[in-house]
């Protein structure tokens, strides 16, 4: 993590996301919303996460946007027909609705994908604690994010173990259904029962101490953070003035 953008304070990055969301919702039309996407591609590449950004975007948003166009343009009938051939009819209202909808989805999603790619969890949790959120709150989020990959790995191990014990995982639906429980069962029971020991282990680490938690890991807002926040704030104010008062 040597990239200057990744090193920004989490709330600085969050303020960029918030500004994008508000701008996207307040701005009429769809052209400016669509232009948010290429801007974020550039920002993502500058932040050193360009490829990851594009791959996450294509995996999550692309199909959805495509489907929205098909649905709104061809399947929901309205008054004005733009184009028609055979059973396919393209409606003007549908086209406009899908442009408005997808432009917002793309803009907001790209800002969020970027945010989570360039903000280490550790920084996020530090900022949340610093902002006064309780340690229980950050603990639950942090341990969830850390536990998921561990459980995925564990389920893979169980899957392989069950396969080698001769439990069939391919074949008819009944066979596959039957394979499901012996796989999930041990995982559920062991992980649930482990929470019991985990409570005590946390208590042994003074989790219930009533003093305010400190952090060995430290990060702070630097001049560049204040600069970015000021630019965003002033820029947004100018936008609001232009949009509503001019």
């Amino acid at each position: 993590m040597t990239n200057a953008i990744q090193k920004l304070y989490p709330s600085t990055k969050m303020s960029i996301v918030l500004a994008v969301i508000l701008f996207t919702l307040m701005m009429p039309g769809y052209i400016s919303q669509y232009s948010v996407f290429p801007i974020f591609i550039i920002i993502a590449f500058i932040s050193g996460v360009g490829t990851k950004f594009l791959s996450a975007f294509i995996k999550s948003i692309f199909v959805l946007v495509l489907f929205i166009f098909v649905f709104q343009c061809f399947l929901i009938p309205s008054d004005t027909v733009i184009w028609s051939k055979g059973i396919l009819t393209l409606y003007k209202e549908g086209l406009e609705a899908s442009l408005l909808m997808t432009s917002k989805i793309i803009a907001i999603s790209s800002s969020l994908i970027w945010f989570f790619l360039v903000t280490p969890i550790k920084d996020m949790m530090f900022a949340l604690e610093k902002a006064g959120f309780s340690k229980k709150f950050t603990f639950v989020i942090y341990s969830t994010i850390q536990l998921i990959p561990q459980m995925k790995k564990l389920s893979q191990t169980i899957l392989e173990a069950q396969k080698s014990r001769g439990i069939e995982t391919e074949g008819s639906l009944m066979i596959r259904l039957k394979a499901f429980l012996p796989m999930l069962g041990p995982l559920v029971l062991s992980s649930i029962q482990q929470t019991e020991e985990k409570v005590l282990a946390l208590e042994a680490r003074a989790f219930s101490a009533t003093v305010r938690k400190s952090s060995y890991y430290q990060m702070s807002k630097k001049p560049v953070d204040y600069l970015v926040i000021s630019v965003i704030f002033i820029g947004f104010m100018i936008f609001v003035w232009w949009r509503f008062f001019k």
Partner: protein
């Protein structure tokens, strides 16, 4: 000086018909190492949980009798206070990882963070512990990626970071290989030298014989025997409570039955060697 005293303690789990602890009377002296032995459901872990105050606050159920820590009843301490008074290391190395730290260094620091310790102080203390526990090579590793033995060592370091006067260690080596076991016992020895009061539940009888000052034998929820390691571990009564004796003690007792008199019954290999040398020199 007595660190922990228990008087007429009885306990029953909420869903069980029988009491798991019966008439427990015990005095734990400051600075001594206690070995708690007995078969699997003798009530050893339950006793530890009572001492640490997890019973009844977490397990619920019915607890009667008096438990005092350093002159105050255990109920007078808050959960946070107890964490700094009585360290507790558990059997399962996997559940002791906090799950919210990305390096071993931070994992050890976690308890201190919960106590609101200043970052500079935390850094200093953790570096000290890492040196003491020989964890240098591991300090940047993710705690999830450690082996069982390494996790157990990190967990113990994380507990000792809080600098408790009493340390309860519940079967630390049950899931460890011989090398991991040896590392843990080295640490226990180090803590003993630092004057900590230690209560150790352990099945490896030869290790107990070598490291602890006093042995407590439990069976069916009761304390059956308590005394100096050299006395308890040379007494065959232990066997009637489902306990074990060190191999060398058993051998010496058998020799004695066969008419070979021993100067003392040894409980460790070193003692056995000395005893045998004495017998041999006598016969020559």
């Amino acid at each position: 000086m007595s660190m922990i005293t228990m008087k007429n303690v009885y306990y029953q789990y909420p869903l069980e018909k029988e009491q798991v602890l019966k008439n427990i009377n015990l005095s734990i002296e400051k600075g001594k190492v206690y070995g708690l032995v007995g078969h699997n459901d003798a009530g050893k872990t339950t006793l530890c949980n009572v001492i640490r105050g997890f019973i009844p606050s977490f397990y619920r159920g019915k607890l009667t009798g008096e438990i005092e820590l350093d002159g105050k009843t255990i109920q007078e301490y808050s959960m946070g206070d107890l964490a700094t008074r009585i360290g507790y290391s558990f059997q399962n190395p996997f559940t002791q990882i906090s799950g919210v730290k990305e390096t071993v260094f931070e994992e050890i620091a976690y308890g201190l963070e919960n106590l609101g310790t200043a970052p500079e102080v935390i850094g200093e203390k953790v570096r000290e512990l890492i040196a003491m526990f020989k964890l240098d090579a591991l300090q940047e590793k993710n705690p999830f990626e450690l082996s069982g033995g390494q996790k157990q060592r990190v967990a113990l370091a994380a507990i000792i970071a809080l600098d408790p006067e009493v340390i309860v260690i519940d079967e630390p080596t049950s899931q460890l290989d011989p090398q991991g076991t040896e590392e843990i016992f080295k640490i226990i020895d180090l803590m003993k030298k630092k004057g900590k009061t230690i209560i150790l539940v352990e099945h490896k009888i030869d290790l107990i014989a070598a490291y602890v000052d006093e042995v407590i034998v439990m069976s069916q929820g009761e304390i059956k025997m308590i005394g100096k390691t050299s006395e308890v571990f040379t007494n065959k009564e232990v066997l009637t409570y489902g306990g074990q004796l060190p191999q060398v003690a058993l051998l010496s007792l058998a020799l004695q039955n066969a008419g070979i008199t021993m100067p003392t019954i040894p409980i460790t290999l070193v003692e056995a060697q000395q005893a045998i040398e004495k017998i041999l020199s006598r016969e020559v």
